[in-house]
């Protein structure tokens, strides 16, 4: 029932995707502009060229109040790294994060985390096995000064548990993580994030570790919270169907590069980039007619230490052209907020030079994350 309602929701108004100059988009709660992250590797040969894992390459995204952006891609595409960059568990190697229009500078993590919270992928490891549910919920409440006495803590913890539909709430307060199911744990993890009363919720594959039968429940819960609290949500997933169900906008990543983005219905129903097509073909859909339009791509996600030059998808792309090997195309606007970065649709504006990173890791090396 709610599914139908959700699908009937009007297409969101096209949002101006962040432009190339480092200026915040008006209205965006949290925005990342040209975000890059390299993880330097241990050098064995001191004279060798410094090497790094190129986890995220030039990704820009914006989150708006009460709306969700889905970040889609297969394992190793840099989705989780983006979430952790936005949660500031890692410092970006390059690029800027804007929070409510102001560039986020180093430090001041406490203030930042009062508004931006992360929900982890695996609820079996994101809760401390030696602490009970009440402890997990009490910490953010006390840290951010929402509750001072233990009575207030209990009251608010019960309310949080009710909000994530863990009822009867008083039965869950004294439970330890090992006494809860995966879905219940993930609800506790979400409640912990909500305890901070954030404006932005970064959900890193919140349902992928859960049983299929309770995924829809979790998605509905998060949708309800998003609407009720007007949260800006970054929803990371490898399941393109849940991206369409959950998020107004979708951004597709491949091997650290963002290849296509726009309103979810648009991106998923009329995918342009060959990789997005591959992803959508991989999702099972009983209604889809078998297509022979494009031969399936072969191979697997490339090494991120020595990534392919140009567009990183070119070794697997059925439409690869010589230009793809040389440089990564710029953004081609397809109308209605839908864009892609693929030579099939033109050069795009301000194409980035081929493989900029090889010079960058050196300056980046110092910024190893804690």
């Amino acid at each position: 029932m709610s599914m139908m309602k959700l699908l009937r929701r009007g297409t969101p108004q096209p949002t101006a995707t962040p432009d190339t100059n480092s200026h915040p988009t008006p209205g965006a709660v949290l925005e990342a502009v040209h975000l890059r992250k390299y993880f330097p590797l241990q050098q064995i040969n001191p004279f060798g060229e410094p090497r790094a894992v190129h986890a995220v390459e030039d990704t820009s995204l914006a989150l708006y109040e009460g709306r969700a952006l889905a970040l889609v891609g297969e394992s190793g595409s840099g989705k989780t790294t983006v979430a952790r960059l936005l949660a500031r568990l890692y410092e970006p190697s390059a690029g800027t994060i804007f929070f409510q229009g102001a560039a986020v500078t180093k430090g001041r993590l406490y203030e930042y985390r009062a508004d931006v919270q992360l929900v982890f992928q695996d609820p079996f490891s994101s809760l401390n096995p030696v602490h009970d549910v009440a402890y997990h919920l009490s910490r953010p409440l006390r840290l951010y000064g929402y509750a001072r006495t233990s009575r207030q803590v209990t009251e608010q913890a019960l309310e949080l548990l009710n909000r994530v539909s863990l009822t009867p709430a008083d039965q869950f307060l004294r439970k330890y993580p090992h006494e809860l199911s995966g879905g219940q744990r993930q609800r506790v993890a979400i409640a912990r994030a909500l305890a901070v009363r954030p404006k932005v919720l970064l959900a890193d594959e919140p349902v992928s570790m859960l049983d299929v039968s309770i995924r829809l429940d979790m998605l509905n819960l998060m949708l309800r919270l998003k609407d009720e609290e007007q949260l800006a949500v970054l929803f990371i997933t490898h399941d393109i169907a849940s991206a369409r169900y959950f998020a107004e906008e979708t951004l597709v990543m491949y091997a650290g590069q963002s290849v296509e983005g726009g309103p979810s219905d648009e991106v998923i129903q009329r995918p342009k980039h060959p990789y997005t097509r591959l992803l959508i073909n991989a999702a099972p859909d009983p209604d889809r007619q078998p297509t022979t339009e494009a031969p399936p791509a072969r191979g697997e996600i490339p090494s991120l230490i020595t990534p392919p030059s140009g567009c990183r998808f070119h070794p697997r792309c059925p439409h690869a052209m010589p230009a793809c090997r040389e440089r990564f195309p710029g953004r081609t606007d397809l109308g209605g907020g839908h864009w892609t970065r693929c030579f099939l649709y033109g050069e795009g504006e301000a194409a980035t030079p081929a493989r900029a990173p090889s010079s960058t890791p050196a300056q980046v090396e110092a910024q190893q994350t804690p």
Partner: protein
């Protein structure tokens, strides 16, 4: 734990047709006492922890006995342990339960009163050692980098300092007090625990729940002591007990060599006086045997606790618990099987016969 049992009234009505008036009171009862069940549950857990594992049960029994003696023993001893009497070198008797030594001092009161000092110094030094090693290990393992390098270097340096010879030298140089011995032993014993704690912290600090706690805004010291440390309690307990054994032996050993404070009463000092008065040659076994046995018994009690904690902390060892490992245990197991197997067979036989009939 503190919620109401689902349906006490229905159970009551099942057992016997209870009068209607009893039902509301049965339902109201759990709400009137919210805190007590949790207490009971905690005590119950503690009791179960102490009794389910045989090693822990034995070990805590032995250690508990000595702790009780140390706490309350002196109240029951009326004879001063150091007062000289004329009844010298007497074997155990009703008047002197463990006999007397060459100076006519009552050995039973020496043993009982000595328990306090021996236990006190062992546990105190054990605590100091654990405090140092936990702090160094946690801080080094958590922060990594230069802090870890520096702390590891210090740890390695202290690791190679020989404890016993240094204690002998230090006691000669400073004074013959138990405090000196305890400090030297503490100073030379912490690196082992620190290395173990560091290794464990290195593994736990990268676990997701630590990252999650950091992402929710926890500060470093909270992450160390409230997220990581509780996961290492078993190791800390084991390291505390190991250290306590070492300290017990080191202090007794130094006192036996006459390097302790000879004005105090302790097991080691009794052993020293027995040795220096050549009690062995006199055949005065009641002089040196009881303190020696006490040291051995307390040591094995602590060691049993240690093994028990290992078994409880490690699920793989918990599995093994059922199997017999020592030759004695194997023999017991075989005996058990032999006595159990025929019974089983006969039972089967009977049931088969019964079926046939």
């Amino acid at each position: 734990m503190n919620q109401a049992p689902p349906s006490p009234p229905s159970q009551a009505s099942q057992v016997s047709p209870a009068p209607q008036a009893a039902i509301p009171s049965a339902r109201a009862k759990p709400h009137t006492r919210p805190a007590t069940p949790r207490w009971f549950a905690l005590l119950g857990n503690l009791w179960r922890l102490l009794t389910t594992n045989r090693k822990i049960a034995t070990g805590s029994g032995i250690v508990g006995f000595f702790v009780l003696v140390a706490l309350f023993g002196p109240l029951f001893v009326h004879e001063s342990p150091l007062s000289y009497t004329l009844t010298i070198t007497q074997p155990p008797s009703a008047a002197h339960w463990l006999g007397t030594n060459q100076s006519g001092q009552d050995l039973f009161s020496q043993l009982v009163i000595g328990t306090r000092s021996s236990l006190f110094w062992s546990f105190l030094t054990g605590l100091i050692v654990v405090a140092i090693s936990v702090t160094v290990g946690l801080v080094g393992g958590f922060f990594g980098g230069i802090i870890d390098d520096a702390l590891s270097l210090v740890t390695s340096v202290f690791l190679v300092i020989p404890s016993f010879p240094l204690a002998i030298v230090a006691v000669q140089y400073f004074n013959h007090s138990t405090l000196t011995i305890a400090l030297v032993v503490a100073l030379t014993n912490w690196p082992w625990g620190a290395r173990v704690m560091r290794a464990q912290t290195l593994s736990i600090r990268n676990r997701e729940f630590v990252t999650a706690a950091r992402a929710s805004g926890e500060r470093a010291w909270r992450l160390i002591f409230f997220e990581i440390f509780p996961n290492e309690i078993a190791i800390v307990a084991a390291s505390f007990i190991t250290t306590t054994i070492q300290v017990l032996l080191a202090v007794a050993g130094l006192e036996f060599l006459g390097l302790g404070d000879t004005t105090t009463v302790s097991w080691g000092n009794t052993l020293y006086s027995a040795y220096s008065s050549s009690a062995l040659l006199q055949g005065a076994w009641w002089w040196f045997a009881p303190p020696g046995l006490c040291i051995a018994l307390l040591g094995s009690g602590l060691a049993l606790l240690n093994f028990g904690i290992d078994e409880i902390a490690d699920p793989r060892l918990r599995e093994l618990k059922r199997r017999a490992r020592s030759p004695f245990g194997k023999a017991l197991g075989r005996l058990w099987n032999r006595s159990a197997a025929p019974a089983e067979q006969s039972e089967h036989g009977q049931s088969a016969e019964g079926g046939a009939a």
